[in-house]
């Protein structure tokens, strides 16, 4: 396993854990409106991990090398998703 994958995947888990901690903190304080507002965060993170995992599994199954052109549309999609996320930070 490429050691680079470990901190990156851990980071996905960290974001998830942080979202969970934030939501749980709101639950403890009884702020259910806050919980409702933040629950989609957890669902979005779950979906993102699932989508990334599916892509990686496909790439491994089909044996995509670093110079494989099939990475191009995947990376273009990643750039678009990140651009959309950045646009939320006004």
């Amino acid at each position: 396993m490429n050691p680079l994958l470990i901190p990156l995947i851990s980071q996905l888990g960290l974001s998830l854990a942080n979202a969970y901690a934030t939501t749980h903190g709101a639950q403890v304080s009884g702020d259910m409106a806050m919980v409702a507002a933040l629950l989609p965060t957890i669902n979005n993170i779950t979906a993102a991990i699932s989508a990334t995992n599916s892509t990686l599994q496909l790439a491994h199954t089909e044996g995509w090398t670093a110079d494989d052109a099939r990475w191009d549309p995947v990376i273009a999609q990643c750039k678009a998703a990140q651009s959309a996320a950045l646009s939320r930070l006004t």
């Binding site: 680079l4 888990g13 942080n18 979202a19 965060t41 979005n44 779950t46 670093a66 950045l86």
Partner: protein, 130 residues
Amino acid sequence: MNRLYSNTVAAFLIATAMALAACANAPQNAREDVVVAYASLTVATNAFADVHDAELARREAVKRGEVADGNSLMPDSTYKIGKQAAIDATALLDTAATAAANKDYGRAEVLITEATALINKIALYNGGKK
């Protein structure tokens, strides 16, 4: 509340299991690392925006007198720093993607590592009431 809490915990456990399953995928290459890094950054950026949105909603609710003013989920100073980190990490990954496409894999990996440090910073800011 118990059911909501259970659902939250279930979602957390499922996603953690999926993340662990992703770890089993090997070997890696620079293009793949770019994809994983983008996914990580986008997750962190969206979570950051979600927490910020929730903070703005909280402040509005306080103004309307609907809830008592408690702990801030995200101070403005944190938002400013986190937003800049997201912008910088995006630029690093965009450059890494170009380097990887040009088969400059070593440079791509260095840039990804630099971006990862910023992503981790954003993720910590997402902690709120950790």
